[in-house]
């Protein structure tokens, strides 16, 4: 009997172009995970490889192996790693960027919070978008919470605090005007309900969604200011901590932990992790995403 085997099916290539990725990039992937907690899965490995190739061109290096040396043994390796991180995480963002995070929030976390005894009396929800950049995540949250305020959160006070280090980003965020690229994941339903047309290419967020959000400038490393960000139910800090070194990262995470209410959740970007930086948070799996949880007092797990 002859057995036919389709080569493409047997060895799915991580690269859409069909080329095989140099194994050194896997080593670099693991190194990047070790220093930053960012993990580029196999299907996204080519994105990391692209970033490396751009850096190699800039540095005039010919082979991935030479670049590996540059990231590991050369005296300027830390700087080089940082440059690579910038290269692979450049602020490309959009509204509705991570549906699994939104599903976890709406289908699991909000019902859980709403069932808490204290919440039933206060009926107040505070969410922080830390490192909000130009506001895409903050408005996404606002729109999703407005949807829930017609059902689960009827009569609740919803507050979203959105902060960023960069003044210009905060100003852009306040305007809430987005083009087709930022809106590529936004369904017609949300576009019609929460946006007005600015011109043929741009839409602007409606006042009712803006009303939920307070935008301000904040440096996450400013300890004094961080102390005042209390009483959060959920914190999103996606693709921000990658720019921090270990010590400051761990300090910021400690702040986040104390800023959260008991039973609150902390989300990172979809390929980020806390690694071993904090042992107070519990790692929680939701369908398609993970988050960190500050145990509730009643769970006795503090």
């Amino acid at each position: 009997m002859t057995i036919t085997v389709q080569p493409a099916m047997m060895h799915p290539s991580p690269n859409p172009g069909g080329e095989v990725v140099d194994p050194v990039y896997r080593q670099i992937r693991d190194l990047v995970y070790k220093v930053s907690g960012i993990y580029k899965a196999e299907e996204k490995l080519y994105l990391l490889a692209d970033g490396c190739v751009r850096r190699m061109k800039f540095l005039g290096l010919r082979t991935p192996r030479q670049y590996w040396d540059c990231l590991t043994v050369q005296p300027q390796r830390e700087q080089q790693l940082r440059e690579l991180l910038n290269e692979i995480t450049t602020g490309e963002t959009c509204l509705f960027r991570s549906q699994p995070q939104l599903d976890a929030l709406r289908k699991v976390i909000l019902p859980e919070l709403a069932a808490q005894e204290t919440k039933q009396t206060t009926r107040r929800l505070r969410i922080w978008s830390a490192g909000c950049s130009t506001g895409e995540e903050s408005y996404t949250l606002a729109m999703n919470l407005l949807e829930e305020s017609e059902r689960l959160l009827k009569g609740w006070t919803i507050e979203i605090l959105a902060t960023d280090l960069n003044d210009r980003s905060v100003e852009t965020a306040k305007a809430g005007i987005y083009g087709g690229y930022a809106l590529r994941n936004t369904t017609d339903y949300f576009k019609r309900k929460y946006f007005t047309v600015v011109d043929e290419k741009k839409l602007q967020v409606r006042p009712e969604a803006k009303k939920l959000i307070t935008f301000s400038r904040l440096n996450l490393q400013d300890d004094n200011k961080m102390l005042f960000m209390k009483g959060m139910d959920v914190i999103f800090c996606c693709n921000v901590l990658i720019y921090f070194d270990c010590a400051s990262k761990s300090k910021v995470i400690k702040h986040f932990f104390s800023n959260l209410n008991f039973g609150g959740y902390f989300f990172l970007g979809t390929s980020e992790s806390l690694m071993k930086l904090n042992d107070q948070f519990h790692l929680i799996h939701f369908p398609g995403t993970i988050a960190y949880w500050k145990p509730s007092l009643s769970s006795g797990k503090l």
């Binding site: 085997v5 099916m9 799915p12 993990y39 289908k107 519990h282 790692l283 799996h285």
Partner: protein
Amino acid sequence: MNPSLTKTIRERVQRIKTMPAIPAVFLPLLKLLAREEVQVDEVVRLVSYDSAIAAQCLRVASSPLFGMAQPPKSIKGAVMSLGLRRVETILLTCCLGQAFPAKKWALDPIVFWRHSLGCAMVCRKISEKLASADREKAYTAGLMHDIGFMVNCLVFSKEFAPVMEHACQEGIPLNEVEQDTLGFTHSDTGRALAEKWGLADDIIEVISHHHAIEDSQAAQPLVALVHISDLLCRMRGMDYGYYERHRVDLIADPAWAILHKEYHDLEGVDLVQFTFELDEAVEDIHTLVSMVFGPAPVRP
């Protein structure tokens, strides 16, 4: 569970006399697997009775999940490169896939196999991180843990269909809906079939208690391993085809502590990194499932 239910399950499972599609080599293979010492020639001879299974086994052996770059030319060749026990588990995968008639399913069989093979793969991947764990045993346990669903589809089809529908609609874990509406779960029906088939005791333990580890008496680490893998699969795209409104704290799960007590090297496993690594293997699972069971479904 009340005794009359246990009796009903036993009686109905006894009715599954011959499954129309079950490959003839399947039950002898299970017997072979339960033995400590197995000769290569015995397996090769057994498989030579069924050329379709043999051919499928060779194709599956070359999937990325089983680690051969080139498809082996013969079962013996596969045994030489992969080892006898790995080839046995591949054979089991192929046989089990053919054991149930297509039209009886209350859930999409592709979804079911994606979860079962996914769980088998996750069990093995976790075992690979634990020096003293038996990887092929872990794989087999993961593969078989939900055979109760097949029993439900075959002999409780009328009762099971609305259970499945309700679970999907409400996003509730299937075993909870089974318990609430039927008074028993796929763990109970799976156990009856496993006993009828004469599966190894530790596999029966896994099938019976993977949702209620506290009830398990023996083989606790294996039951714990399957419990954890099952949850991970359901959280990482190898679920039952619907969104479970469910959060999972694996490290606080009693199963994690049981596993940790048995395998101290679990300490060094970075669960987040492991989770991300699994996502890479999901594609391989889809490929394997479509290879063994037909085209993979398009996920929304």
